[in-house]
Amino acid sequence: MSTHTSTSAGPRRTVVTGVGVIAPGGTDSRAFWTLLTEGRTATRRISFFDPAQFRSQIAAECDFDPAAAGLDAQEIHRNDRFIQLALAAAAEAVTDSGLDLPAGAPDGGYGVGVSLGSAVGATTRLEDEYVAVSNSGRDWLVDPAYASSFLYHALVPSSLAGEVARRFGARGPAAVVSTGCTSGIDAIGRGHQLIQDGAADVVIAGATDAPISPISIACFDAIRATSARNDDPEHASRPFDATRDGFVMGEGAAVLVLEEWEHARRRGAHVYCEVTGYASRSNAYHMTGLRPDGVEMAEAITSALRQARTPATAVSYVNAHGSGTKQNDRHETAAFKRSLGSHAYQVPVSSIKSMVGHSLGAIGAIECAACALAIEHSVVPPTANWENRDPDCDLDYVPKTARDQRIDVALSVGSGFGGFQSAILLERATVTR
């Protein structure tokens, strides 16, 4: 049996060899990166349905055409948008990696794993279909005669991993990771662990969500977590700004091709960066509330740095969760100070949610893609809309304008409902570590 043992001494290393992004404001990684480096925002009044009844009427929507993105008619028909976005992002990432999948998959496909995150799965399709089977929510005992034939495919979000595995002939371990808003980091972190542990040589890793639907808007309305700056959508997502009033819902997908270092080196692949550390902790405190001290997130960051054997002072860019809620940005700022010490005041910290919104489970992967591109292009993406200093948020948030700067070590963090706190380190790849 193949055990995927590394040919070189030492633990197996994970590098990023492909990047694919479908984000608001652009439908590939190039458009995404252009948006970020220009500091433009893709938040707008919701166009997918009439949002008039809702408290928050704004979102960051993708102008996405699944057929133009190469999905076939049946893929489009049977899959909710969250899977369509992921298939498109995965296709870009695999093409970018230069891997010939499925034809050239290692170990007959068994060497290729899938680890994809999503917080809310096919919630949009499940809601749309429920309107019909329940006669606009009036009938508890729904009428199965009105059910379309792919409802089970929507009910189980595992369909996401299955669809991507099928498209690329990935016969290795496949699963969806669903840890709320840390799903994206956790899926990539888990993909890294699959490679470390020899369960795969290549992992298609990332995350997707398409939650811009009435029920999702309604449920965040109910807890006043989203911004109600409806008269000014372009400036509504204001992470770390004193006038921030909640997050702006987004959607999108990002996929990274993770690859074992030697495997990538042997085929001469372009390497964006290396995944050097990943950790997740829970606050065991509250499903939505955060204590202001940021202790558990700091613990995750410290653990990721320890795995990487990277000192805190070496971190050259912090990609923040920065959702733009009052409590998150304060919690997170405290976590950076606790884990990075005085270096927290030296290192640039930015939130791309200011531009592409908060796509729940997807955003962690989109932010990892942003880190990979930031390392590649030596540019720190800005925090758009940052204008007013909050005394509790007193770090360098890279206001409005991207910064040219070499980045050797990028730290990305996430915080999610359920109390999950995750941290991942992406570093410029060097031969020796």
Binding site: G121, V133, Y152, P157, S159, I215, I217, D221
Partner: protein
């Protein structure tokens, strides 16, 4: 953090399933062979006659329900209103598993313990109710708890809060196979230095909308009587009846468990997962993906097919899937197949999505404890065409030192777990 270990043992079992609340209730019901699949009672379903007469659309009419489960018996009322039935079952099972293990998270550093659950479809009933309120009454009718109750991480988050678990928690979604995958993840966490993980899966999809979704899978039985509900490897297998519940465990670093004076019910000795990568609902054309999962799990355990004492089959309950699994077992076990005991006791309770393999792990650990293996559930007419040595009739005393458990999930997921007895 405890020192990184290599060996993960299961020291606590918490069952909440149609077969009973608590491991012992489940075990005795299973040994008695009680069929718990029955007509749905939680909501009115179309009558079989109406379906046959064409006046009602086909829908699930049979399911395995957790009878007599009262959340107030197990949980704080404030927690009950915040959570779906799926989380009630998970929170109850977590408490039972921790009690059974005698493991108190508060005795340890909070970062030493994590929760890693699988979830097939989240909080179905809660979600249905709130979407219905939105569309029939408007957005102000949607409750504050919708944002935390239905999503797939809800049970894991609530368990971590209730028991103060700050370790690396997670949620795995891979259909039925998730019930084994979460145990593989628990072992991964333990190998990276976590002391103990509350892991496993419960499900609660016996709600009108979720069952309507299930009916579109093409996997449900057309049977309307309990004995027709779920009968893997039968001459009359035509799909399965769904069900609710499952099992959670305390998975613990073996050395740390030993320090507490616990050797555990069994060891997670091997695990592997593959995917068919073939079709959105049909299985792979050949058995290779499942063969690879079994071989890689054995390889991971450092064992050979000759070491396996008994197999807990996935037994999907359709002819096509059961035949594929039989062929896969034939490829792995070769000439031994004719004498290798194979069982699938979970068909007594219906197919519980990720809860099923978790429940099979509980059953396997109890079989290991008592040296007795229950038969395939609800099987009166085994089909010899499968060429399997199926355990039928009465529970059988036999060696149970190495047990293989298979799980397959809708859409092509295959997982295999090897449990070995602890000395």
């Amino acid at each position: 953090m405890s020192a990184p270990g290599q060996s993960a043992v299961i020291t606590g079992i918490g069952v909440v399933a149609p077969s009973g609340i608590g491991a012992e209730a489940h075990w005795s019901s299973t040994l008695r062979g009680e069929v718990k699949v029955a007509p749905v009672t939680r909501f009115a379903t179309p009558t079989p006659a109406a379906v046959l007469a064409g006046t009602a659309a086909p829908a699930a009419v049979l399911a395995g329900e957790v009878d007599g489960f009262q959340p107030e018996d197990h949980l704080d009322p404030r927690l009950i209103v915040q959570t779906d039935r799926w989380s009630w079952l998970a929170l109850t099972a977590a408490g039972l598993a921790l009690d059974d293990a005698g493991y108190r998270p508060s005795d340890h550093d909070p970062y030493d313990t994590a929760a890693i659950l699988a979830s097939g479809s989240g909080g179905n009933e809660f979600g249905q109710r709130e979407i219905g309120r939105l569309w029939s009454q408007g957005r102000r009718a949607v409750g504050a708890y919708q944002s935390i109750a239905w999503f797939y991480a809800a049970s894991t988050g609530q368990i971590s809060i209730l028991h103060g678990l700050k370790g690396p928690s997670g949620v795995i979604v891979s259909g039925e196979a998730g019930g084994l995958d979460c145990l593989g993840e628990a072992r991964r966490a333990i190998r990276r230095g976590t002391r103990a993980v509350v892991a496993g899966a419960t499900e609660a999809a016996v709600a009108p909308y979720a069952m309507t979704c299930y009916a579109t899978s093409g996997m449900l039985t057309a049977g309307t009587r309990p004995e027709e509900g779920y009968r893997p490897f039968s001459r009359h297998a035509d799909g399965y009846a769904p069900g609710e519940g499952g099992a959670l465990f305390v998975v613990e670093d073996a050395a740390a468990a030993h320090e507490r004076g616990h050797r555990g019910y069994g060891r997670i000795a091997g695990y592997a997962a593959t995917h068919d990568a073939h079709h959105d609902r049909r299985p792979a054309p050949g058995p290779d993906p499942l063969v690879q999962a079994m071989r890689r799990a054995l390889d991971d355990a450092g064992l050979t097919p000759g070491n396996v004492d008994v197999v807990f089959a996935d037994g999907m309950g359709t002819r096509e899937h059961d035949l594929l699994e039989a062929r896969a077992l034939g490829e792995v076990f070769g000439d031994r197949l004719a004498h290798l005991p194979v069982t699938a006791p979970h068909s007594l309770v219906g197919r519980l999505c990720a809860g099923t393999p978790a429940l099979n792990v509980a059953t396997a650990l109890l079989a290991m404890r008592d040296g007795v293996v229950p038969p395939v559930g609800n099987l009166t007419d085994p089909d010899p065409a499968y060429g399997l040595h199926l355990i039928t009739g009465e529970p059988r005393g036999m060696p149970t030192n190495v047990i293989m458990i298979n799980a397959r999930g809708y859409g092509g997921f295959n997982s295999c777990l090897i449990l070995t007895s602890t000395p």
